[in-house]
Amino acid sequence: MDAPDYYSLFNPQIIDSAEYHPNYFIDIAREFSPNTDDDQTPNLKEWGEYFGHSVQSNDIRKLVYGYNQNILTFLTNAVKNRKITTPDSLLGNTAIDQVFVTNNVEVFEYLAFAYQAADYAVAGVWDGEAESKKTITELIRIGTNLYKKCANNFLKIRYGYQLTRLAHISKDYEQATSFFDTYVASSKTESIIRYWALNYKAGACKWLGESAESIYNYANVFAHCKSRRAHAMQDFSQLGYVTRPTTWDSAIKLCKNADEKVNLWAMRGFTGFYVAENYSYVFSPSDWGLNTYYDSAFECLQNIAKINPASKYLEPLLGQAIQMIEYNKLNTKRLTRNGGYNSMDFYENRSSLPYAEPSALRDIVNKIKANPKTKRPYFWNYASAYLSYLMKDFKEARNELKVAESKHTTDKFLAKEIASLEAIMKLDEATSVTPELETYLLNTLTQFDIKPFSRKEEWTYNFFDRDYNPSHTWKYIMDKMSDLYDKDGNFEMSEICEPTLQLYSMMDYDTTDMLLKFISKEDKTPFQKYAATFYPAKISALYNLEGTILMGRNDFYGASVRFKKSDDSLTEKDYLTADPFFIRMRDCHDCDYDSTSKMKHLTKLEFCEKMLELEGKKDQLKPDASAEVYYQLANAYYNLTGYGNCWRALSFAEHCSLSLRQDCSKAEEYYKKAMKLTRSKEFAAKCCFMAAKCEQNTFYNLFAEFNSWDTELRQEGTKEKYRYQTNFATLTTRYSDTKFYQQAIKECGYLRRYAKK
């Protein structure tokens, strides 16, 4: 299931946390990673502070990320030996210039080493283990010497990072932790690099089986280093803390202060579902109750609130906990009606997910909101209201909403959600549609700009974008109104609020016309007008649809009137796919369909007008000419059926077999008429043959089951079939001496078999 496929009325936009957006939604939590920065930005910021304002940021970027070991080694030598000429390509770089001016060769020395280490980190993966170890050992030796020589703390911590990383890559985890402790932890320099290195130490601890230490370190990376946050979370989630409480307790004991404890709980809260979905563990069931599933968000929220009720993690974790409840409790109705895995069976049998009971969560929320240290207490009032709503305690919900409204001043997102929840509750209480209800809802929807759910890209959801509108309030309101309209017998509005009819597949004139009349009429209530603007089938398309349906009924006049009213620009679907007046001896659906020039044939309107013209004159001409007109008309009627080359003309949907017309009786009638009128025996033979085809098609339309592998059924079918071969009888008795007959008997196996009998 995907986020748009279920109701979520708790809009994450109200959560004040651009940095820690929760893992919405459960099924996409796998693909979701929290807001992260790239590595370069914070590092370049630090280099910028190191170099000072006189150096341009682009030059720093070039120096730190844009060169290579050879260039930096050259520059190192050039500083030491001023006789070496700097090539033109390196001139003008203000960062390089400053190093030369200040004689700060250590910068180049460090960067040369960093490039070398970074290159090997990528290229070295292709070496064998022993080879790689040898190379890294040498790099570590070089790096350690450079560290010892270096007097610059800004660079020293960076050496520490490189050494920790190299040791980690060579899988010498003890050395990695040792390097971190010696060269990074001991440094007093504030730098993001500390956490880059800490990430490696955390990984090393993991490999050394020091789970508690590993978890503790990952939590610190999570808290302080955006660019490594997702990675830390991923590794953290593999550490089995869920199933080994002792590991968790040990990790908590490592925390030096309340903030660190909160970080640990927060990380656990955000990664909890990763654990369930992606990894299997070896553990003993006695460690953990199998039947009490683990809702990390709820538990962590509780623990963080105890430690720091003003923590920035509380709101996003609450959002996550509410999402879990919504998934399980709120969704008694499916939003989408696609096939595949969203079909009813899977929806109704969907796996439940762990969630806290709303009452339990509300208790925690109420404690948080009552705490004077809480940030944004009005948010917690709203959250309490929402949970009360989920518990159907509307009175309590309204009380809390009043408090929230009184406390907040300028939070427009919250104002919108307060109004939304009021509207939802009013709707839930309503038993029928009233003008007051319509007015109230319309005012709420328009005043607060509550819109339908929007999806920016297929399958990706940018929940960090506050302009993104992930709430289903609009859809929920419309769906509920649809139910109420339906109860009140207002079929049109029920359909308009919640489009369920597959109009283009149904091809039902009465339904289409009813909707068309309703949407077109002026005297609708403001709410009805508003809702109609969202209905997917617009007036023009409905006229087009009606015209097509009437065309299928051979009402070419009615069809042409509708087509003229449809003022959409013509698309491929408005053109016939072949010449409807051209016929073949053997049916070949798509032989006449030229895929390279779909739009060269008649439009549906032109076809209807042509048919009207031919119908008008068919009885006005001399017999032979009249026969020809009847023949053309017969061809057209035949080609509009599923047996002909314009079968798509009566289809609207992409894949539509329902609208295929199979009835060839009109075509048969006209072929026979042509046969009677014409004085040409050859032409009559042709008409008779075509009439025979129609008759045979009629047999198959009526008795399709006789064309089965079942012998008994086939025998039954054979008996019936004779009754539908009167035209074959005529053809063989009257026209067997014609050239056409000779050709037909060669091409048509059915005729051959009949003739043999």
């Binding site: 064998g128 283990e129 022993a130 563990y281 070896v282 199998l290 796996s351 439940s352």
Partner: protein
């Protein structure tokens, strides 16, 4: 000519005729019968099995003494050992090795190790033409380095890549480079059924031999699939163009099992090694179809965590099925001699099969 001579001649001739008739009467029936038998058995293609092998695909190469003994009993001559995979690393924006095997036991005596490398097709989709040489050098270097470090002499290499029409040019160039870098090694590539059926489009890799993967032909993620490991109906749809396929083919057959776990109808993971016994003995799993179980509540089965409502579809390729698969493909392999490899060596799984049962798989191709 005197009458005697003539008579003698006549007598001789007559005797010869009699002898001839006797010969014909005696031996022709046998000839006819033998011809019939010959023709009858000619319809079934016979192969000479040159090597009986297993794939070793686990991340740790750790064969116990009993495992080595079993390999010996089965007369296994080669272990196609996955050395590492190559995937496209988004961060580094280049191909990187991953899941490098760790050799933790000595090599089984008398068995040749064939380094096998799996390369994701995505690598060749994203790789620039001018990076192919570097990739082949890197991979070749790593294979040789690992072989030297672990004292593994090898005479052949196998590459496993589900290449497509789009990636064929780059993949084939890569293989050519590998050949140049390892001129004394025999080069093999896995071939999937669709790559035979549509070989005109997808091409034929420039290798010495192909290893036809006669398994994994179904759509594992499709809820309605019965057994994605081997499905005879699906397999038959692909049994075309073998007579025209220009590369000599060896055959790889399955002998493994797993559970496909579906969450709301979507395949979310594979539960390796899961069996019917594991599921039927778990009180929290309810059988809903021949090879499907649903979790009545959250549960753990053989270290796999299954959430309430999730459905497990068990798929098995046992020795019986594998032998059937072998019999099915046998007539289509036109080369007389072939090497047969079973996927894959897992001691915990292999102990469930007797030597005759496994022999039956190989024999089905004889």
């Amino acid at each position: 000519m005197s009458l005697t001579t003539k008579n003698t001649k006549l007598k001789t001739t007559k005797k010869h005729k009699e002898n001839l008739v006797c010969f014909v009467k005696t031996f022709v029936p046998f000839v006819v019968i033998f011809s019939f038998i010959f023709i009858l058995f000619s319809c079934k293609k016979h192969h000479h099995i040159t090597h009986k092998n297993f794939y070793h695909w686990q991340s740790e190469f750790n064969i116990s003494d009993s495992g080595k003994q079993r390999l010996k009993e089965l007369n296994i001559t080669r272990l196609y050992t996955r050395f590492f995979d190559v995937v496209w690393d988004k961060e580094a924006n280049q191909p990187m090795p991953t899941s490098v095997v760790k050799f933790q036991s000595t090599m089984p005596y008398g068995i040749e190790i064939i380094p096998t490398i799996y390369i994701k097709n995505e690598v060749f989709l994203k790789l620039n033409d001018n990076a192919i040489t570097k990739l082949s050098q890197n991979i070749s270097h790593k294979i040789n380095a690992m072989a030297v470090e672990n004292k593994i002499p090898f005479t052949a290499l196998q590459f496993d890549c589900d290449w497509t029409e789009k990636t064929s040019a780059k993949y084939f160039q890569f293989l050519k480079n590998i050949t140049q870098l390892n001129p004394k090694k025999r080069l093999e590539a896995t071939i999937r059924l669709h790559q035979v059926k549509y070989f005109i489009k997808t091409g034929v890799p420039p290798v010495n031999r192909g290893a036809l993967m006669f398994y994994n032909m179904g759509e594992v993620s499709d809820f309605n699939t019965t057994n994605s490991i081997f499905d005879e109906k699906t397999a038959k749809e692909y049994l075309h163009n073998f007579d025209k396929y220009p590369l000599p083919l060896d055959v790889a057959l399955p002998l493994y099992h797993w559970g496909v776990v579906f969450h709301n109808g979507v395949a979310v993971r594979l539960a390796y090694g899961l069996t019917n016994t594991d599921c039927s003995q778990n009180i929290n799993l309810e059988k809903i179809a021949k090879n499907k179980y649903v979790a009545k509540c959250n549960t753990i089965v053989k270290n796999h965590r299954i959430l309430q409502g999730e459905i497990i579809r068990l798929e098995v390729a046992d020795a019986e099925l594998s032998a059937q698969a072998a019999a099915l493909i046998s007539p289509y392999i036109k080369n007389d001699s072939l090497s047969v490899t079973i996927y894959h060596w897992d001691e915990k799984n292999i102990i469930h099969y007797s030597t005759p049962q496994i022999e039956k798989i190989f024999n089905a191709l004889r």
